[in-house]
């Protein structure tokens, strides 16, 4: 576990309002400006000098400086009864004019601006400590530019993507993602088939768990989103487990003649003439890898099948192709947003060749855990339990067989 981000790796930055964004730390051609929202850009060198978890704050001179974590929370031993009887608009209590504030912002650091605002507020001193804390936090969000460096872990990336756009990860929240991995018993040394429409984060999280041992056959049609796979900073060994498989090859009665697997024709061909020898070779390497990947998939049943897709059609198609390739005793896990199709699968599986069929929702809430103020966060439009996970274990009898010794694991036959 690296303590610091390094050149070529990724980092998640979070601003004071909780917005998160992933950055590639690169000095090369694909250099990305390290800029959160309206903040000024952070110099790459400054960031590279800080460990994960560090806080960088923009100072009055425009530079970014590392600051220490402070104890964030007001504590009061005597409970103060908050009294909003004499509510007044905050603005009337502020003796600094907007133009004075603007001037301050030019000359001072953000935290100095916040201090000035507090000391020029007629009501600040009379507020309870809790209310003062709330006030300072609100003002800091407006005037202070500050980021926290976060490690690009599965959890952090999942939250980042989810916050940016739920669609990016098919609405797959971190708790659902983690539950999927556990339900499918994703483990080092095993073989998995996955449809991952959640930015490649599912396949990436699986690759981390496999740690170079086992296979992940990632199905796709059309797009092959890799954001999650890339931004997790996987090692080469971790990455090597993930193999792309075009659905076309699986569904075809003659996979070897499918577009995706077809070998490039001889260079002398009419169409192939324009292709440079180098490109042709690259193409050959690519197709050869596809051949190997496809052969390796078809050689043996998989231990788990995971499906995360918004498109119900695609989901059904993958199940149709994937379930016959699932080993007996293997797990299948499907994430979706609509109850009826999953309930129908649930019913059919229970009546059919599956046991331990479960359709589950996760109801996960985050709390404000502050002294004397503990309660679940109050959000009007929370997606507390929006998705469903359907999982089960496949049972059934393989072809008749001799009693198998310890060293000759039974070769299972896929049904097709």
């Amino acid at each position: 576990m690296k303590a610091k981000p390094t050149l070529g790796s990724h980092v998640v930055l979070r601003d004071l309002e909780g917005a998160q964004k992933v950055f590639l730390l690169s000095s090369g051609a694909n250099r990305q400006e390290l800029r959160m929202g309206k903040y000024s850009a952070i110099p790459l060198e400054t960031l590279l000098s800080c460990p994960y978890g560090a806080i960088l704050r923009r100072e009055a001179d425009g530079g970014w400086q590392r600051v220490r974590h402070s104890i964030e929370v007001a504590e009061e031993t005597v409970e103060v009864q908050e009294n909003n009887q004499h509510l007044a608009q905050d603005n009337s209590a502020q003796s600094l004019s907007p133009s004075e504030v603007r001037d301050l912002k030019q000359k001072c650091s953000g935290s100095e601006v916040v201090e000035a605002l507090a000391s020029n507020s007629a009501t600040f001193a009379s507020k309870t400590k809790f209310a003062q804390e709330k006030y300072l936090k609100k003002k800091a969000q407006k005037h202070v530019q500050q980021v926290t460096l976060l490690r690009p872990s599965v959890m952090e990336l999942c939250e980042t993507y989810y916050k940016q756009s739920r669609n990016k990860v098919c609405g797959l929240r971190y708790d659902y993602l983690s539950s999927l991995l556990c339900q499918a018993d994703v483990r080092s040394g095993a073989r998995f088939l996955v449809l991952d429409c959640a930015a490649g984060l599912v396949a990436g999280a699986m690759a981390q768990q496999l740690a170079g041992l086992g296979e992940i056959y990632r199905l796709f049609r059309g797009s092959y989103p890799e954001k999650g796979l890339l931004e997790l900073d996987l090692s080469e060994s971790e990455k090597s487990c993930v193999r792309a498989i075009h659905l076309e090859a699986l569904e075809s009665s003659d996979p070897w003649s499918s577009e995706w697997l077809r070998l490039p024709e001889a260079p002398g061909d009419a169409e192939g003439e324009a292709i440079a020898p180098g490109r042709a070779e690259a193409r050959l390497t690519r197709i050869t890898k596809r051949h190997n990947d496809f052969k390796s998939l078809e050689a043996k049943a998989v231990d788990g099948l995971i499906v995360v897709a918004e498109d119900a059609d695609l989901c059904a198609e993958v199940l149709e192709l994937g379930l016959p390739r699932l080993s007996f005793g293997g797990r299948v896990c499907v994430f979706g947003h609509h109850l009826q199709p999953l309930a129908a699968l649930q019913g059919a599986w229970r009546a059919g060749n599956f046991v331990d069929v479960r359709l589950t929702q996760l109801f996960t809430r985050e709390f404000q855990a502050l002294p004397l103020r503990t309660h679940p966060f109050m959000v009007a439009d929370a997606n507390l339990c929006e998705g469903f996970i359907l999982c089960g274990s496949k049972v059934g009898e393989a072809e008749p067989q001799e009693a198998a010794g310890e060293d000759s694991p039974t070769k299972k036959q896929r049904r097709s």
Partner: protein, 345 residues
């Protein structure tokens, strides 16, 4: 012990624990990182072998973990199941009792099934919490995680799966009998290549000098997690995560305050509950009312009730199924997670 396939330094040490002063300073050795070794145990083999710990699945509440031994018989409410008729079968097989009739499914001992087979024990941590804490701790191969207390070993089993290969779980239990039981279970599960189990009160005696600054994540399932925080700080790497599981709000409050005082940031409190859905077929008499043609569907329905096809139709719609919410656990506990501030803070 004869069932274990991968004896390790940790296992050796842990095995000694029963005979030594429980509160002596720890003598745990950090496990050397093994080179990428092929994993070939029950988690990846195709068939159940003599000595394997396997799962027999009877229903959602009847899930049995057994160690296969020639000549033995597993007795449960579904009948008597001869191990000799199970050994050599591939996973996913339906195994039948001698008296015939009912069958159980022979399955691999995933951490999930292990947890479910432990439901008779009190106060075990369940799936939703386990999977969430695995994510919060970023448990993955190669990492070192500490757990206190071990309890039923339900969490340990799942963490050991997440840490394999090359990772290590140090798990501590201050109740002596319970630690012995857990130790025996870990041996049965065959996870002693990853798990080191110790009898120790970490609130008073810490996690041991050997782990100082070596641990990537700590999971606390203790009545007073706040009391363990100074010890956590000693063993946790900068930027590492600590997760505490507590049933009461006040325990969380106190631990959160202690963590903030001790230089942890991103202190977050979570609760997760799993809600399960049941499904049943809409019965034929009800369907008669429907205006759409009923004959076709009923035939399809009846067909489905016969010997089930190998691969169920995946394209079915919700037409004939009725979903209802099943009873659920109303509360397990709150998870509190915090990150240790980085070096220099």
């Amino acid at each position: 012990m004869s069932l274990t396939k991968h004896p390790s330094v940790g296992e050796f040490l842990a095995g000694c624990e029963e005979h030594v002063n429980p509160y002596r300073p720890a003598r745990l050795a950090l496990c050397p990182m093994a080179a990428d070794a092929e994993i070939s145990d029950v988690s990846t083999s195709d068939t159940a072998r003599e000595g394997d710990f396997v799962i027999l699945w009877g229903s959602y509440t009847q899930i049995f973990g057994i160690v296969l031994k020639h000549g033995e018989i597993a007795n449960n409410r579904f009948g008597n199941f001869h191990h000799d008729e199970i050994i050599g079968r591939h996973f996913g097989s339906r195994v039948r009792s001698r008296r015939g009739g009912l069958w159980l499914a022979l399955l691999r001992p995933s951490p999930e099934f292990i947890t479910q087979s432990l439901t008779h024990r009190t106060q075990i941590v369940y799936h939703a919490d386990i999977s969430l804490l695995r994510a919060l701790l970023d448990a993955r191969p190669g990492h070192i995680i500490c757990e206190a207390g071990t309890g039923s070993g339900s969490v340990s089993a799942s963490l050991s799966r997440a840490l394999r290969p090359n990772g290590k779980l140090y798990t501590f239990e201050f109740h002596e009998e319970r630690q012995k039981q857990a130790m025996a279970d870990f041996s049965t599960y065959g996870v002693l290549d990853v798990v080191v189990s110790q009898h120790r009160d970490v609130c008073n005696h810490g996690f041991g000098e050997e782990l100082k600054g070596q641990v990537h994540g700590v999971f606390l399932d203790l009545p007073a997690p706040w009391a363990a925080v100074p010890h956590v700080t000693k063993c946790l790497v900068f930027g590492g995560k600590v997760v505490a599981f507590s049933p009461c709000v006040e325990q969380v409050d106190k631990t959160a305050t202690e963590l903030r005082r001790s230089g942890y940031f991103d202190v977050r409190m979570l609760e997760t509950l799993a809600t399960n859905w049941g499904v049943k077929r809409q019965d034929a008499t009800k369907k008669k009312r429907r205006t759409e043609g009923t004959t076709g569907t009923t035939a399809a329905q009846e067909a489905e009730e016969e010997e089930p096809k190998d691969v169920p139709k995946t394209s079915g719609t919700g037409e004939q199924w009725l979903s209802y919410q099943m009873p659920m656990r109303s509360h397990t506990g709150y998870l509190l997670v915090a990150t240790r501030a980085p070096d220099g803070d």
